[in-house]
């Protein structure tokens, strides 16, 4: 989704629609409503307006087949999530993103594979010295 900007967090129904289309492929409003409207009070109009909204946000594409629109995802699930994380980072600036997200491992040093090997070697040596073998780490 190059250049696409998702303007707002998506609501639960929007996520449900996307999830349905990601797993089932292109569908028209009746097919989506048949699944997502079942057991709930969601009307056909609600599902239709949700599809329209997602289309306007650039998350769905559509083509007219006979008299109905066939909707399909314009963005992959993974791309949407990564894009959202990227937008959070851009919104806050590199340093301030830590104020919202604290990750287990940052990446910068990982660009040097030799460094990871050196660290692993240090751990193995320490483990050997401790006396519980040096080959039990997970690669």
């Amino acid at each position: 989704m190059p250049g696409q900007v998702i303007t707002l967090p998506l609501g639960q129904l929007e996520i449900d629609v996307l999830e349905y289309l990601w797993s089932h492929g292109p569908a028209d409003v009746k097919s989506v409503h048949a699944v997502l409207g079942k057991g709930s009070r969601r009307s056909l109009n609600t599902v239709q307006s949700t599809l329209d909204r997602l289309f306007r946000k650039g998350l769905l594409s559509r083509e007219k087949v006979s008299r109905a629109f066939l909707y399909s995802p314009a963005v992959e699930r993974e791309t949407l999530l990564l894009d959202t994380m990227g937008q959070i980072a851009n919104q806050l600036g590199a340093r301030d993103t830590g104020a919202l997200m604290a990750s287990f491992v940052q990446r910068a040093e990982q660009d040097d594979p030799g460094n990871l090997d050196r660290l692993q070697q240090l751990i193995d040596e320490r483990r050997k010295r401790r006396g519980d073998g040096g080959d039990d780490h997970d690669e």
């Binding site: 699930r77 999530l81 990227g86 491992v105 910068a108």
Partner: protein, 337 residues
């Protein structure tokens, strides 16, 4: 009586002078003591660094408060005299120069305008920062909506192949992990990663980071950058120590760090979302090296050092109120337009 802008400008100037003095003091303390600081346990180190970052704010508050305390309690505490004794010394100049009650100085118009402009710009930037933070927090909702809640372990599983784990949210933070990371971790490593993230949440590190971000803006940029990086490292090491205490195996935690880093390295080059995962200065080596050593013995007495220093600084500023007042009386007429 002067208009409110003159009083406000004087307060802002005082705050700026106090903040400058505090920034100078904390930069000196940091640069002279950063080596010793590195030997402190992470939990203590993070508090000491936070106290250093708070120095400019405390300096500003102390100076403003010291110049605007009500006369009666101040006189009773420090000067030993009554209001009459104080104001009687300069009955004719009282409205022009007395700083003791509230700033009464008539400043040149250009100075008032300049200070107001700078303060307004600073306030605007602060408001914009808060708005961006709130907007970003709303975006987190999208990730939660797309995740699957894992009730047993207390985290959101994200449908991502990229190996990621993080804690997110200012209030009531939550842990997130990607499918790509989970499927490559052993049960033990999974527990280590989650305990680390939950430790961030328990200590409200993301919220404290907002405070750190704000305080750093009052510091000299280069010093602020170094203190923030050290603070971030201390926070990570504190979480690592917590996990190590829980599992009883520091080497297992170090192993897990390297394993996760290696998984991320094996992925294709970064796309947008990756930026969220290497935001702070690199600290993997420092974390692993620290885990190879035994944790430093707790030095609880040092916890009182920042609190003591802060209290002493505020008290000194307050106690110097009468002296500042007299200096102001002496010097300000010379600068009058």
């Amino acid at each position: 009586m002067n208009n409110v802008f003159d009083s406000l400008t004087v307060y802002l100037l005082l705050a700026a002078i106090g903040a400058g003095a505090g920034a100078f003091l904390s930069a000196g303390l940091y640069l002279s003591g950063s080596r010793r600081l590195k030997t402190c346990p992470p939990s203590l180190r993070q508090h000491l660094l936070l106290a250093l970052l708070a120095c400019p704010l405390l300096g500003a508050l102390a100076l403003v408060l010291s110049m605007s305390m009500p006369i009666a309690p101040a006189a009773a505490l420090f000067a030993g005299g009554a209001e009459a004794a104080h104001c009687g010394n300069h009955p004719t100049l009282h409205h022009a120069w007395c700083q003791w009650h509230a700033p009464q100085i008539v400043l040149p118009g250009w100075l008032t305008a300049l200070v107001s402009l700078i303060f307004t710009a600073w306030l605007g930037l602060a408001v914009r920062g808060v708005m961006r933070m709130l907007a970003a927090a709303r975006r987190l909702g999208l990730m939660r909506n797309m995740g699957r809640w894992q009730a047993d372990d207390g985290y959101w599983l994200l449908p991502l192949r990229r190996p990621l784990a993080f804690a997110a949210g200012l209030f009531g933070g939550q842990a997130f992990m990607s499918v790509g990371l989970r499927e490559h971790l052993s049960h033990e490593q999974l527990a280590i990663v989650l305990e680390h993230e939950h430790s961030h949440i328990r200590h409200r590190d993301m919220l404290t980071s907002v405070l750190v971000s704000f305080l750093a803006r009052l510091q000299a940029p280069r010093v602020a950058r170094r203190i923030r990086a050290d603070w971030a490292l201390a926070v990570e090491q504190r979480c690592d120590d917590t996990v190590a205490r829980t599992t009883g195996d520091r080497l297992a935690v170090a192993d897990c760090l390297v394993a996760v880093a290696r998984l991320q390295q094996d992925r294709e080059p970064a796309v947008a979302g990756d930026h969220a995962c290497h935001l702070l200065d690199d600290n993997l080596s420092a974390r692993v090296t620290a885990l190879l050593e035994e944790p430093p013995a707790p030095r609880r007495a040092l916890v009182f050092v920042p609190a003591g220093l802060t209290t002493a600084a505020v008290m000194a500023a307050l106690a110097s109120g009468p002296q500042m007042h007299r200096w102001a009386e002496l010097l300000l007429p010379l600068a009058a337009p």
